[in-house]
């Protein structure tokens, strides 16, 4: 059993939990598609946070870079992102996730209805997921954090660009770019809302 690295012995369990969670999301996705004839999300991605960026985060938080802190102070070591076509789909996914057995919501933030000042929009959920395997506190069943981010394709595109400037050391016209990025966020949000409204109107007419 691999015991090296920041996640040590627990890495394997984290991987299993991530696979299980995505499997459950895919499962309700299939059921929804069978019942409604359309996909509830466009795509789904997941990752285990790289040890390098986990160490950086712990350093930023002023905490020891050990296995316990990595699994207890950082809540997004297991991360899943669900990208949807429409805003309503985001909320339907949130509803479905809440009914997955063995996981409870620790914290959720609706940055779609309360956009961050820079224009960032997404729905964030931090879940505590129960696993048959033990956790870093020695409990069996163990408890692990999973962060799920849900957003529309437009929000995803925006976040990709924002991510790029966030990690660039120096950008020319930074003020202007940030300001224009904020304007784009507001325009994309406008489009998302209008498309959702049109979809509802089309459905009403059926």
């Amino acid at each position: 059993m691999a015991q090296t690295g920041l996640y040590g012995f627990f890495r394997e369990t984290m991987q299993q939990i991530m696979n299980r969670m995505t499997g459950q999301i895919e499962e309700y996705g299939r059921a929804y598609e069978a019942a409604h004839g359309e996909k509830l999300y466009e795509h789904l991605i997941c990752r285990i946070k790289s040890e390098e960026s986990a160490r950086e985060k712990l350093c930023r938080l002023g905490q020891t870079a050990d296995t316990w802190h990595a699994l207890r102070s950082i809540t997004d070591t297991i991360g899943i992102r669900i990208v949807c076509l429409f805003i309503d789909d985001v909320y339907e996914n949130v509803r479905q996730i809440k009914s997955i057995p063995g996981c409870s919501v620790v914290r959720e933030k609706d940055y779609i209805h309360n956009a961050k000042p820079n224009g960032y929009r997404s729905y964030h959920m931090i879940l505590e997921v129960e696993a048959d395997e033990p956790d870093v506190d020695g409990n069996t069943p163990g408890h692990y954090y999973v962060e799920i981010q849900l957003r529309t394709i437009a929000m995803d595109t925006w976040a990709a660009l924002e991510h790029e400037i966030k990690y660039k050391k120096s950008i020319e016209n930074q003020e202007l770019i940030i300001q224009e990025l904020r304007r784009c966020a507001n325009e994309l949000a406008a489009c998302d809302v209008s498309m959702q409204t049109l979809k509802r109107i089309i459905r009403e007419g059926e």
Binding site: H113, N114, A189, A190, V193, S194, I201
Partner: protein
Amino acid sequence: MKILFAEDETDLREVVTAYLEYQGYHVKAVSNGREAVENAASDAYDTLVLDVMMPEMDGVTAIRKIRETGNTTPAIFLTAKAEVADRVEGLDAGADDYLTKPFSMEELSARLRALGRRKREYKVRVMCFGNLELDTEASEIRALNTIGLAHREVRLLSCLLANTDREMTAEDLLKEVWNNEPADAETVWMYVSFLKAKLQSVQANVTIEGDRNHSFRLKEF
């Protein structure tokens, strides 16, 4: 206040110009419609005063050409007493007010002041209601969030914001917001729906009350 004044009768042009300058206005005086169009295009004015009967180009044609360029400067035109058709034509061509000849200087002055007041109202940049702010220049609404509005949505919302004390029918809104462009009650309903969703999205404590084919009004809740 800068005024563009077009009048072909030399005496009248000079008297009015002198009077307005005495009143503190900056006046650019020209003698026909063509010069008025050229000057309106090359310089910014606060008000246009145009005679109807002029050589080369009459005042009605001039105001129509000026409006075609997207220029919305308030315009007042001068017409002879009997010419009802001219007055109708001039107002329809885009003038905001008219004065029949002969007119008193005091009345011209008062109408210029009135148009000036109205112009300031047109220029209101941010309109508020409840926790909602409409920024007409940035084409955005703000409450707990910010979201962009389409040009038509800005006009529809400013119209509703200017009439929070009464019900606006689809016909009222078509007249105010769509002018004479092809649109019907369904178009109004669609744009009302867009706005309602956007108001909700920024978490405004304001919504548009009213149903398809009925009348609409902004309400705080």
